[in-house]
Symmetry: C2
Subunit: 157 residues, 2 copies
Amino acid sequence: MSNQRKRKAKIGTSSIESEIFKSATSFSDQTLAQVNELLSIWGMTPLQYNALRVIYVEDKQDTGIPSKEIGSRLYTRVPDVTRLLDRMVDKGWITRERDKINKRVVRSRLTDIGMELVESAHAPLAELETKQLDHLSDDEKNALSTLLNKALNKALD
Amino acid sequence: MSNQRKRKAKIGTSSIESEIFKSATSFSDQTLAQVNELLSIWGMTPLQYNALRVIYVEDKQDTGIPSKEIGSRLYTRVPDVTRLLDRMVDKGWITRERDKINKRVVRSRLTDIGMELVESAHAPLAELETKQLDHLSDDEKNALSTLLNKALNKALD
DNA sequence: AAACAACAGTTGTTATAACAAGTATATGTC
DNA sequence: GACATATACTTGTTATAACAACTGTTGTTT
């Protein structure tokens, strides 16, 4: 008489693996929301900040960093680095130039503004991250870091 | 003589907290990519699957689940549940109806197709998750789950 | 050195996420 | 019982993510 289909029994009790994914995702999502809010002070998104930071850290010789390397060092997949960098050029944070030797490559460098942005945001971000985890002991943080890295290495196989 | 600004020394060495965020984000991003690939077989996105699963699990009485509750049970922030559900109505996976008593509330229920989708995808997803972590011992998985939850609770304060 | 494959970026398109403002209903207060 | 406030959802708009096809350059093979 009812049009209600019977739901299978097994769905609903979630495995330890599911719990781990759910927690890791929630954790990174919640933290990202706070990082996003903080970075909005400077008009940056987390992705833009990360790209700036990659260039800042890697481009010691001020020769510029290829788009592909920037993409590979961001810790989420980014299918469209070109337009991510386009917007950062428009904002005056980076400059781009074709590599003279390998003309396929485009190298990005920070402008003074871009450099200042990375330096301004760094300490507040570090503080936010520390605060987020200040209820964990050093042992717990080390254990968590180790376990996440172990989990991650398989994910990247 | 060079127009190169001096980069501050401190940036580049990352704290244990940064490492944790980076690993957690990479881990969930990589896993999500695989989940996305798997779910694309049925034409679902991870977010859509999660919404379907929420309704499947919560709507025991087939009275429908309010949009707000669906949103709150998804483990990422979703600012636009209405249109997420719109698309699922269009695809024939759910139906929506205004609550008779509280007319502000809209309740979503699974169609037979929606129910079949959840049931079809569940086992392959569980298998994927298990495989992703099969190089961790039970103790490690339990420890990871516990630590992530502890980290998460602060993030949600 | 011509042909083919690989590589690094670019561009076009569509769908979705994010943010903000708006609408209808319900609840609380005086 | 009018009025302010809160709630649940909707709608409008803009920016970005995702996917695929394409261009120009370099490397490899014969």
